[in-house]
Amino acid sequence: MNTETPNFPLAFGLNTFGDVTADGEGRPISHAQTIRDLVGHGVAAEQAGLDFFGIGEHHTDDMPLSAADVVLSAIAARTERIHLGSAVTVLSSDDPVRVFQRYSTLNAVSDGRAEIILGRGSSIDSFPLFGYDLSDYEDLFEEKTNLFAHLREGGPVTWEGRTRAALRDQDVVPHLDAPLPTWIGVGGSPESVIRTAQYGFDLMFAVIGGPAARFAPYAELFHKALEQFGRHLRRIGLHSPGHVAATDEQARAEFWPHYRDMITKVSATRGFAIPTEASFQRELGPDGSLYVGSPETVATKIAANLRILGADRFDLKYGIPGMTDESLLTAIRLYGEEVVPRVRELLA
């Protein structure tokens, strides 16, 4: 048995995919304004007392966040305490050397506040964009994660693989004082859990449908695998979508039509089922993955699921294309100022 006691402080973050919001008349705002608003969200997140603000790489008209690290750098310049990172970086279609350089630069700019969450890419737009074949995604992720793990350790890197030019005794700059906190986002593949443990990275469960409890065996798998690989205990986080407003009714009314439209749109290209009122209700409940409601409703659900998974970090993925910026800023404030203190209280 692993005799270490998990002793990571509870931490709470926000994740965004840079969704384009709507103006007062329901029209989408510009990409440039979306990005400027996001910088404001990062600042608001720090003001609300949150620990982490993460931006997930996307390349679509309604989520134009293709260069997350640039936006994070602007947030870094206007904040002092909050950690900043990707959520996720689609490593499969990126160059691990460039990813390392961008985030070690962010780490320098922010004075040590950069984190990185690596993903294989459930969002697939980057593959054709950068000339990768989707059917290679497993091999690409496996190999690039391996290279990234080498880079993260610091020091000259020697590496050889099939997906990128080899490196021989290569110094990669800027140097770090300590390895970047690195997570792998896992959607339910046990092999990904093992890989995360193998590299000694932190594990972020991306739960975007159904009960978080079904990931409990994966938490156990992670702990056993860390032990087998002779690694120290690592953090376990939970990422799920949601929205917070003054009341349950208001939160649901602000969220549902846009959630329905977005999933319906994605279903056309991804083969998802189109959400119904009934499926929405189910996802809102204890067996679902949505955290939509008043601060008390959302806090109760977060606390329950962190406990079930033995997780010490919760990242709320906020925002859906078509919601208003005002409602998102309110959600950020309520999440930081009311939900998080309440979760801490419930778990104390």
């Binding site: 697939i124 290679d136 593949s189 449908g209 159904g210 089922a273």
Partner: protein, 219 residues
């Protein structure tokens, strides 16, 4: 009463889908072997923690001893699968061809045949049954209900071999679902992404109605 021996199951693939299927079949009392590519040692820990009771084995050995083999691999791995070992087996095809997500695969680019018909063509000596492709892996455990429960969800089963379809249907019913049988592998087209039952939680009557409407339109 003489009990018919239950078929032995081999699941190829221990990802999201394979591990969820292993759990529901183990719960239903089936003997389940699991295999990934290569040495079973590599999946020992996964099997022991997330599908306790499943036996990790080399794929060829698991398949040789199995009556029913479930392909729970991403479709793009199918082309690299050793097909010779599957002759004579009931092979469950839980896969989908969805080029926008999986990339274009020349083997499955076909205007005439469904992906499962292509799987059957490639595995000529096997008895292919299409099912489990239209339920999310995360719903497989959650949506199980005992027989007779008004909320029991139905899954579609399509094959050109009625006996193979019956064996697989009985396994699905033991696992906690009603079944709706399609006449042929070709009719299984209605279970595919974009179809009326893909990802939909339907009971048997609603499933039949949805599927019937679709096949009439197509006819």
């Amino acid at each position: 009463m003489i009990a018919t021996p239950r078929p032995r199951v081999a699941i190829l693939g221990v990802g999201h889908v394979g591990s969820a299927l292993a759990r529901i079949l183990l719960d239903a009392g089936y003997e389940v072997d699991v295999a990934a590519s290569g040495d079973p040692q590599r999946i020992q820990l996964i099997a022991s923690v997330v599908m306790p009771g499943a036996r990790p084995r080399w794929a060829e050995e698991a398949v040789a001893d199995a009556d029913v083999v479930i392909l729970a691999i991403p479709l793009h791995r199918f082309a690299g699968l050793d097909r010779s070992m599957l002759g004579g087996k009931i092979v469950v095809d839980s896969m989908n061809y969805w080029a926008p997500t999986d990339g274009v695969q020349p083997l499955f680019e076909d205007d005439e045949l469904t992906s499962s018909e292509i799987v059957q063509r490639e595995l000529a000596a096997a008895r292919v049954v299409k099912t489990f492709n239209h339920i999310g892996y995360h719903e497989m455990e959650e949506d199980r209900r005992p027989a007779g429960d008004p909320d029991r969800r139905a899954l579609g089963v399509a094959s050109d071999d009625p006996d193979a379809a019956a064996v697989v249907a009985s396994l699905i019913e033991d696992a906690g679902y009603d079944t709706v049988l399609a006449e042929s592998l070709r009719d299984g087209v209605v279970f595919e992404p974009g179809g009326p039952v893909f990802g939909a939680r339907l009971d048997a009557a609603a499933f039949r109605a949805a599927v019937a409407g679709e096949l009439e339109t197509a006819a």
